[in-house]
């Protein structure tokens, strides 16, 4: 019989190796899934993971998309990882992303067609504030009434989606849009546009913000007392209270920061790559970011790499759907599988696998 034995302390080597092992296992299982769908597994995996980067025909389009897609994923995941470390489960980033975009876009469109340099920064701030405030709903309910923040933050996603639908056909609808739902194109209004900063790279302000967030989160977690308290509260809540951590402050901080970052991702998206508020401008970054956060082992640098990998699955998935007629949903299942394998092999970090019978089950 195989049994698990707790290690005296977490294995450093495995904490690096498990994400790689999970990716390898996912490739294997994903290949089987594609084979089951009647596709050539090798071709499918090559189309998803290699062609976007190296195929001469597609790379020119795909490579910049890597940063465009990774930017919001990293930005949101960095915020979520703080809460996940502290045991504060914000799983409603998708809603905060939507509300951030709505607030930012609303603040800008109120001034249309004024042209001024400060409009874009103001919209960015409004976007962060929108995400922050939306996240403060579960935060305040948890602090004040001890309401489960997992359920509240998730349910608020559905509320936000309905709010988005209402805004896209109502208040924020483009008056010159011929009655079609959706706002004015923010990317084409120079005061609100979030353009590509370095042509051909996909780098826009949101990507820059994601890189800055990675650095700040790294410093926070490694060097600052707040980061220390976040880690402490997640690992040993009673020890955190003994250390003098106030749970309410921590809940507000983690939800607030992750909400603000999700809101930022939202406003950068609608002013740049997506260009306008439309009923379905949100493509699930808020949920995929949960996978990114875990795949990055809740570590800012890990999240950077995990964000790029998941971005690649998005782009490669589109390519595979276009080239090989593989359904887009397969990619979503693929991403879910990745998280499963990651959670499964994570056991190796804290436990040794031993053979032989000692404990009766």
């Amino acid at each position: 019989m195989i049994r698990l034995e707790k290690r005296p302390q977490p294995s450093r080597a495995w904490s690096w190796a498990t994400p790689l092992l999970a990716v390898a296992l996912t490739l294997l299982a994903g290949g089987l899934m594609f084979a089951a769908l009647g596709k050539d597994p090798v071709a499918a995996l090559r189309t998803i993971f290699l062609d976007p980067l190296f195929d001469p025909q597609f790379a020119a389009y795909s490579r910049p998309q890597l940063l465009v897609k990774a930017g919001p994923l990293i930005l949101i995941a960095v915020g979520l990882s703080l809460g996940f470390r502290a045991g504060v489960w914000n799983i409603g980033a998708e809603g905060q992303y939507i509300v951030g975009a709505l607030c930012g876009a609303g603040a800008g469109l109120a001034l249309y067609p004024l042209e001024a340099w400060w409009i874009f920064p103001m919209m960015v701030l409004a976007g962060a504030a929108g995400g922050f405030l939306w996240a403060m709903i579960p935060a305040i309910l948890r602090i004040r009434f001890n309401t489960n923040e997992i359920l509240v933050s998730l349910l608020l996603v559905y509320v936000a989606e309905n709010l988005l639908a209402s805004m896209a056909v109502g208040r924020l609808r483009n008056p010159e849009g011929g009655g079609f739902p959706g706002s004015r194109n923010l990317a084409q209004w120079s005061s609100s546009a979030n353009p590509e900063l370095i042509p051909g790279t996909g780098m826009h302000w949101g990507v820059a913000a994601a890189f800055i967030a990675v650095i700040l989160a790294y410093v926070l977690l490694q060097r600052h007392l707040m980061g220390f308290h976040i880690r402490l509260a997640g690992q040993a809540p009673r020890a955190a209270r003994f250390a003098g951590v106030r749970p309410a402050v921590l809940v507000a901080f983690c939800l607030g920061v992750s909400g603000a970052l999700a809101g930022l991702a939202g406003i950068f998206e609608v002013t740049g790559p997506s260009g306008q508020i439309s009923i379905d401008f949100n493509v699930g970054y808020g949920f995929t970011a949960i996978i990114v956060a875990f795949l990055g082992r809740l570590h800012p640098v890990g999240i950077l790499f995990a964000g790029l990998l998941l971005a690649l699955t998005y782009i490669g998935g589109e390519l595979a759907s276009f080239m090989l007629n593989i359904p887009a949903a397969a990619i979503q299942a693929f991403q879910g599988m990745l998280l499963f394998f990651l959670l499964a092999v994570d056991v190796l970090t804290n436990y040794r696998i031993r053979r032989g019978r000692t404990v009766t089950p």
Partner: protein, 310 residues
């Protein structure tokens, strides 16, 4: 708005139909949580149950086969969760989320060929004279067997938890898994069984959505019902009878807002559609605010990992 367009008998009837998937999923999750396991993958198991049940019913032409296969697939999916959390000791919150994300992807993958198809109809039971009673006959006594089965299941779950030896053992595992282990109770085996039951109930509930309630297959059609089912368990303070009340309450809100939409309410459609979620949040807040330190009804080991130390 024309309120007379809403027929009270039909309203009650559709309330019962609307509440049934919530009731099934919430009862399953109740048993899982009573065993000390928090499975946030209800939404994922429901949607997989919805498409698998739909596909099986379409392929065989038998709704019964659809329900059975939906339940089976829900249980099967839940076994991934069971292996990860009980054997590999993964975090239950993260694993439940993974189950939901995976289930959503898997369901739309499987559902590619089923969009726009009508499933075989599920027959309504003929309860003879009962079905002929004015108002009540139409509202309460003209449903399919799943509606009545789910109510019977509520009673069965209550009896199991409070009156049977196995139920006592299951509650013991959820209260204090270390003590249960010391008494020789097989904690992991019991939790596997509870998780499978929860998965089957969620799958059955999902199948009911695609086979009876809507009835057709669309991507993401459970639309948060799994999350509302999780909230109902909290609302019910982990008691089966209150789960029934909660499911009918939330089913009622959903049905009412749909009827108001149809009746042309002055409120925009989007605000009516968000109302079930808002109501759920409000109820969660009221329940958690009322609960003092002394009467915490949640099982004491809920969500905690169990590793038998020697």
């Amino acid at each position: 708005m024309d309120l007379t367009a809403i027929s009270p008998a039909l309203l009650v009837a559709s309330l019962m139909v609307g509440a049934t998937p919530l009731l099934l999923a919430a009862l399953g999750e109740l048993v899982v949580e009573k065993a000390g396991v928090l499975n946030l993958g209800v939404e994922g198991m429901m949607i997989v149950g919805a498409i698998c049940g739909f596909a099986a019913a379409v392929q065989t032409g038998s709704p019964l086969a659809g329900f059975a296969f939906g339940a089976l697939c829900g249980a099967g999916l839940s076994m991934i969760f069971a292996v990860l959390t009980q054997v590999m000791l993964s975090n239950q919150v993260a694993t439940g989320l993974a189950l939901t994300l995976f289930g959503l992807g898997l369901s739309s993958l499987v559902g590619q060929g089923y969009i726009g198809i009508k499933p075989p109809p599920t027959v309504r039971l003929d309860l003879g004279p009962l079905s002929d009673i004015p108002f009540l006959g139409r509202a309460v006594f003209s449903h399919d067997w799943v509606v009545y089965g789910s109510i019977a299941l509520t009673a069965a779950v209550w009896w199991f938890l409070n009156r049977s030896r196995a139920g006592l053992t299951l509650r013991a595992v959820g209260e204090n898994h270390d003590a249960a282990h010391a008494l020789g109770i097989r904690v992991v085996a019991i939790r596997f069984a509870a998780i499978a039951f929860g998965g089957a109930c969620a799958g059955l509930g999902g199948a009911y959505v695609s086979l009876v309630r809507v009835p057709q297959w669309t991507e993401g059609m459970t639309a948060g019902a799994g999350w509302i089912a999780l909230a109902i368990v909290v609302f019910a303070s982990w008691r089966p009878a209150r789960v029934l009340v909660g499911a009918y309450l939330f089913g009622g809100v959903t049905v009412l807002q749909l009827n108001l939409q149809a009746a042309g309410s002055a409120l925009p459609v989007e605000y009516l559609s968000m109302s079930p979620y808002v109501v759920t949040i409000v109820v969660l807040v009221v329940m958690s605010a009322r609960r003092g330190a002394r009467s915490t009804a949640a099982p004491a080991s809920l969500g905690k990992p169990f590793h038998a130390t020697v």
